[in-house]
């Protein structure tokens, strides 16, 4: 099993807080990978307004860094902020870490200003950078290129990685932080295999194993969408399915649960939207996940969600108070992130639940698969 921690708060906080929660749950991972995703970014030494895209990645060599500079300037991107981590290099196992990159780029003035074009453009830049690195022996790793999002992935123990990058110094803060400590299973040690996974602003991380990985991967790949690639981890498909449901099918967030773990025929027979959901189950049959999984996700508007597999074979707890919420695979993780909360209101979702923390963070919404939802498209 892996360990997951997410904290979302009205006031920006240091990602180190979430790493301490990971430390509380340290029995559950083996140091084979730590992933961090930060949303709602605040830099101490730069007034970032959340407009321009941030590139997160690692340049493993000086040459790769130079290539990145050339790549971005050729496309008209202007570097306006380059975050310097207060590094303590000895704490990182790997030797080939020339530079952890968190850079804000100003987009060229002649680009298509529409929202969709921006999403497409940012994704393509990330994919091209990733490909560029892969073509040069993996000397450049690209995690995300997106406004208001920073991603860090490294092999090692969470606190150690946090210390190595000086994440405790308060120079980098965020409203939402996702962290995952990985238990290396069957896909080798690879930075791209660390959760969370990211595509066009949507990110998920998982505690579990998706046994239906190969058929789902084949189906997503067959969609021909350039972002549906990678798949160093079987959990990456959860992110892509969420992306597919929200961005491609434009369905409400609640339907994600109906796609990945649909209800049985007998249950759908008595569901108010049963007929539609039966149809949806058939057309999205290849996206039904399997195996034990707790999926924690975040959306570009800072909505956070938590869903379980259909047999509820993984734990997860959500707790907090208006303004601050935490989701973790263990209660001790929630305790570490939001100690001053009413613990009696903690919630452990069952197989039918989707827990949603809306962007206003005033409450958590517990939505059951048996409940109806609004579906303007199918009305």
């Amino acid at each position: 099993m892996c360990r997951l921690a997410l904290k979302t708060a009205d006031l920006p906080f240091s990602p180190y807080e979430v790493l301490t929660a990971m430390e509380a749950m340290q029995e559950g991972y083996d140091g084979s990978g730590l992933g961090l995703l930060l949303r709602g970014i605040e830099f101490e030494d730069f007034n970032y307004k959340g407009r321009w895209p941030i590139f997160s990645g690692i340049a493993h060599t000086e040459e790769a860094l130079q290539r990145l500079n050339v790549f971005m300037s050729e496309r008209g991107y202007e570097l306006i902020y380059d975050h310097n981590f207060a590094m303590t290099p000895g704490l990182i196992e790997a030797q080939d870490r020339e530079k952890y990159i968190v850079r804000v780029y100003r987009e060229p003035s002649n680009v298509d200003p529409s929202h969709e074009a921006g999403e497409e453009r940012n994704m393509r830049i990330r994919l091209e950078l990733r490909k560029n690195g892969e073509e040069h022996g993996g000397d450049l790793t690209a995690f995300s290129f997106w406004p208001n999002v920073v991603m860090i992935k490294e092999v090692g123990w969470p606190l150690q990685v946090g210390n190595a990058l000086g994440l405790h110094d308060g120079r980098l803060k965020a409203n939402v932080v996702m962290a995952q400590g990985r238990q290396n299973t069957n896909y080798g040690i690879n930075l791209y295999a660390c959760h969370p996974f990211f595509i066009q602003g949507i990110a998920t991380m998982t505690n579990g194993e998706n046994t239906a990985f190969v058929p789902i991967k084949e189906w997503l790949t067959g969609k021909g969408f350039p972002g549906y690639t990678g798949y160093q981890s079987d959990s990456e498909v959860f992110t892509h399915i969420l992306h597919y449901v929200i961005k491609k099918l434009k369905l409400p967030l609640e339907t994600y649960k109906h796609v990945i773990t649909p209800l049985k025929t007998e249950e759908l027979d008595v569901h108010p939207q049963g007929e539609f959901l039966r149809g949806l189950r058939a057309v999205c049959r290849r996206l039904i996940i399997d195996g034990p999984n707790a999926v924690i996700g975040t959306l570009p508007d800072e909505t956070c969600l938590l869903v379980m597999d259909h047999k509820k074979m993984r734990p997860a707890t959500v707790g907090g108070r208006p303004g601050v919420w935490a989701i973790a695979s263990e209660i001790c993780g929630v305790d570490a992130m939001v100690p001053d909360r009413d613990r009696s209101l903690d919630f452990q979702p069952m197989r039918e639940h989707t827990v949603i923390i809306p962007p206003h963070r005033k409450e958590m919404v517990i939505w059951s698969q048996f409940d109806p939802f609004t579906l303007p498209q199918a009305a």
């Binding site: 194993e209 239906a212 190969v214 491609k248 049985k264 539609f276 057309v283 399997d290 195996g291």
Partner: protein, 546 residues
């Protein structure tokens, strides 16, 4: 003494050791009850008087001589039409275990003489290739143990059903849903389907038993099994019954039985499960259906609208069609329209290197609901030996390449592929079926296995029995002779159908649980498969294990 020159032997003279099966008869146990001779479907054994010489030696009188004893014994006929087929009914009815066929391990010389009167030999049944099949060698080797918990086949809930019918891409489904447009019909069915065996090939009792069993599986056990009819129609009472929803009606090149079906449409209480358009069959590709005259009884003649006692060879192609465009466009569309666009229509083809061409055509036809590919190991009620032995394409690679073709197009959820041909021929029904499902099939059709499991068909891969074509089935499964099919009690068949599907359901869970799969049928889960043959592994793109 008889002189050697006067012993008659013709080029076709055979002795019992030239035949594929030799009757072993134990005189000391035989009570001469005559049951074996009366039950033998081909009259291979007969009672006869024999004379036996008993040497006599009177020592005191120093005299030698002979005594002769006359006795009644069982003998084996050696003519081709009466050669023992090895069905073993004689041993089944013998009260004293005095008789039974044994396979001839010597060379089977009768093979050279079976073409009598210019007729090429025909048989029913199977391809007769014994030994482990390719499917038997596939193992499921992605085991969930510690990284994810193994599931409990006995206690956890499993979704085992599959979908028959065209499935739209999700975007298109939502668009049509919003616009109120037609959404192609689908059926949620059990992935093991009773394959097409016609009313005509099967006896009325067998057919009734299967249907009863299928209805029981659906209505009592909650296993949504469907059965396909094969060519030749359905008894009129079934067409007007609520059981029609468990039946896939087949239309084939002879169109037999469709007068009755079309006439019954206004009176149907429910839609059939699907319509199967047969273009080919794995056991005899390029050949139409064949119901030999022996089996065209009065009932069958009435259902099919033909005179009694004539051979009914269906043409190899649908007569109104000269190309795939026509067959796909017109036939599928017409059949869809006939049933109000509420019934899935899919073609059945024999395994062939050109299967992908057919598939690609179907993918572009909005009314096509699936594709059934029948491999070389499929069975048949009647076919020429040469067709059965030498033509056809094995199912595994044929199915796999079609599936991978769909994967490459991103259409693998849209046109379900069904596989048939040799599934469970050594009894490993669930293992064979699940292997094909993980190679990409949405489900499998099983025929011979059902005849063996549900009705006690005696056929095996050693060439045993194989006389389905001439209507002499000693178990009454493929006979239209009332005296024979009375032996088969439909209730017993129904019971066995239910037993069989309950066991398949359990075995499916026992395969899926260790793979960590329970939420959906693991279609295309090729990462769970391994085979001990590197070339086959490469061809199927699964793991080579040794």
């Amino acid at each position: 003494m008889v002189s050697v020159r006067s012993v008659y032997t013709s080029p076709g003279s055979l002795t019992y050791s030239d035949l594929p099966w030799i009757i072993q008869h134990r005189e000391d146990r035989c009570t001469l009850c005559g049951r074996c001779t009366s039950v033998c479907p081909v009259q291979a054994v007969y009672l006869t008087y024999r004379r036996q010489r008993i040497p006599k030696l009177d020592i005191l009188k120093k005299k030698r001589g002979n005594d002769y004893r006359t006795f009644v014994g069982i003998r084996q006929r050696t003519t081709i039409e009466h050669k023992c087929v090895g069905c073993g009914m004689c041993s089944m009815v013998c009260p004293n275990e005095a008789i039974g066929p044994v396979p001839n391990t010597n060379e089977n010389r009768s093979l050279f003489h079976i073409h009598q009167k210019g007729e090429a030999w025909k048989r029913g049944g199977r391809r007769n290739v014994p030994g482990r099949t390719f499917l038997d060698r596939i193992v499921f080797n992605r085991i969930s143990m510690l990284t994810d918990p193994a599931l409990d086949a006995g206690r956890h809930e499993f979704n085992l059903n599959t979908i028959l019918g065209r499935v739209l891409p999700p975007e298109e489904f939502l668009r049509r849903q919003a616009a109120g447009e037609w959404i192609p019909p689908t059926r949620e069915i059990f992935p093991f389907i009773i394959g097409s065996m016609s009313f005509g090939a099967l006896s009325p009792n067998m057919w009734l038993g299967l249907l009863q069993g299928v209805a029981y599986c659906n209505e009592v056990l909650g296993i949504p099994v469907v059965m396909a009819t094969g060519e030749g129609g359905v008894p009129p009472w079934v067409l007007k019954s609520p059981f029609l929803k468990y039946v896939i009606l087949q239309i084939a090149s002879g169109y037999f039985g469709w007068d009755e079906i079309i006439r019954a449409i206004p009176e149907m209480q429910c839609d059939p499960a699907a319509i199967e358009i047969k273009y080919g069959q794995g056991a005899k590709p390029g050949d139409g259906g064949l119901l030999m005259w022996f089996k065209v009884s009065r009932l069958i003649a009435r259902l099919r609208g033909v005179p009694e006692g004539v051979d009914l060879p269906s043409p190899p192609v649908h007569q109104t069609l000269y190309s795939i465009e026509e067959s796909v466009m017109k036939m599928i569309q017409t059949m869809s329209m006939v049933f109000g666009f509420r019934v899935p229509i899919y073609p059945k083809i024999s395994g062939t290197t050109s299967a992908k061409a057919v598939l690609n055509n179907l993918v572009r036809n909005p009314y096509a609901s699936g594709l059934l590919i029948d491999g070389v190991d499929g069975g048949t009620g009647a076919a020429y030996n040469v067709s059965m032995d030498a033509t056809g394409h094995p199912i595994a690679s044929n199915l796999r390449e079609c599936y991978l073709d769909l994967v490459a197009q991103g259409r693998q959820n849209e046109i379900p592929l069904f596989a048939a041909g040799g599934i469970g021929k050594n009894g490993n029904i669930t293992q064979n079926g699940m292997a094909l499902i993980m190679l990409g099939a949405s489900g499998v059709h099983i025929g011979k296995y059902m005849m063996q499991a549900a009705a006690g068909c005696l056929g095996n891969e050693m060439g045993r029995c194989n006389i389905c074509n001439v209507g002499l089935c000693p178990k009454g499964i493929t006979s239209q002779n009332e005296k024979l099919y009375r032996r088969l009690d439909p209730d017993d068949v129904a019971q066995r159908v239910a037993d069989t599907f309950m066991a398949i359901r359990t075995e499916m869970k026992k395969i899926m649980a260790p793979l960590g799969r329970s939420q959906s049928l693991p279609i295309g889960m090729s990462d769970a498969l391994g085979i001990d043959d590197a070339a086959a592994a490469e061809r199927l793109r699964v793991r080579y294990v040794c």
